[in-house]
Symmetry: C2
Subunit: 179 residues, 2 copies
DNA sequence: GTCTCGATGTATCGATTCGATATATCTATA
DNA sequence: TATAGATATATCGAATCGATACATCGAGAC
């Protein structure tokens, strides 16, 4: 997670730790703590994926190395579709992934959400194996279903967009295939 | 998180580890690993919040103790409104919290979401301090806003419901106050 | 009958992340 | 010239994750 976040942000230009955190906050990843960020920076430096450039004062900027760029590509193309935050992080750096891989990734994520939806619907139907649930639990289960449905619809939009990207790049593509 | 999950589920009746995990899955908490669950069980047993009853075969059921019930009440009444999963977990066991505290908790959560929404809107407006963002990042930012708005609307429903609960219990309540 | 496979069930390990805290610097302003 | 708040790096113990190991049990194949 943090590896992806750091590498993805440094792909643009060198940045220091505090700046990384601020940028992640802007991207909607609010709960990024320094207790995770700084260890991640040292980890990535030790592995040779980033390099520290000491700046004025106490600031320490990091820049992405060549192998770091490869590592970023590897993580972006990996199939981690289960955890929401991880997928969103990947999406935030989709620009660095080739269009064909983007489409594959979006479809995988969609499949995952559909199976999650089925699980949620089943749980609600059978009143979750236990007796009937209280109002708040029922509300939670319903909300989970609604949220997941909305996420699937959102992915459908993204998939449609990714298809057009593909078509522009590879005009001889067979159009109209189903998801 | 896991303390709340375990204590909340054992409040009903004794259960063993595997059963706890299955029940959490039904409640929509898919990513509960045994590597977190079993350590949590031992932790809670050591603190005297739960007791192990050895069952037939390898099964080990745990029951909630008196102090465990107090600890559950304490956690449920705490103000951890920032992390989504944590709040949802609290909601799943709202039945064990007094109605007045429920209403307070829901309002706190709403305030938190409103401030999160403002942050997200500001980020999108200023194209996140950096230059203009690519399509996928923009989609992510937009989706974050939509999701948060929808969560706030959901909380409004829950708050309305919690108010009626209060009125039934305390009929002399001043009605019609704003959130 | 017994073999095998999948579900049930407990457990541990290294790595990662969290949450709280400490501390130094720089800048505006009272 | 305090002093308060934003900027900036860092660390520590505890909790969580993800993978893996391993044992039991029941059902169906053969």
């Amino acid at each position: 997670m943090f590896d992806l976040a750091v590498l993805g942000l440094l792909r643009n230009r060198p940045r220091h730790g505090y700046e990384l955190k601020a940028r992640l906050l802007e991207l909607g990843f609010a709960r990024v703590s320094f207790g995770s960020l700084y260890p991640a920076l040292r980890r990535l430096e030790k592995r040779g994926f980033i390099e520290a450039l000491r700046q004025s004062g106490r600031r320490k900027a990091y820049k992405l190395t060549g192998t770091g760029e490869q590592e970023l590509a590897r993580i972006l193309d990996s199939a981690e579709d289960d955890e929401d935050r991880r997928f969103n992080m990947r999406l935030a750096f989709f620009q660095y992934l080739e269009p064909a891989a983007r489409l594959r990734s979006l479809k995988r994520r969609r499949n995952h959400l559909v199976s999650r939806l089925r699980t949620a619907q089943t749980a609600l139907q059978y009143s979750t194996t236990e007796g009937p649930v209280d109002h708040y639990t029922a509300a939670l289960l319903q909300h989970n279903i609604g949220t997941t449905e909305s996420d699937i619809a959102w992915l459908d939009q993204l998939i449609a967009y990714a298809r057009t990207e593909q078509e522009v790049e590879v005009p001889r593509t067979l159009t109209g295939g189903n998801i």
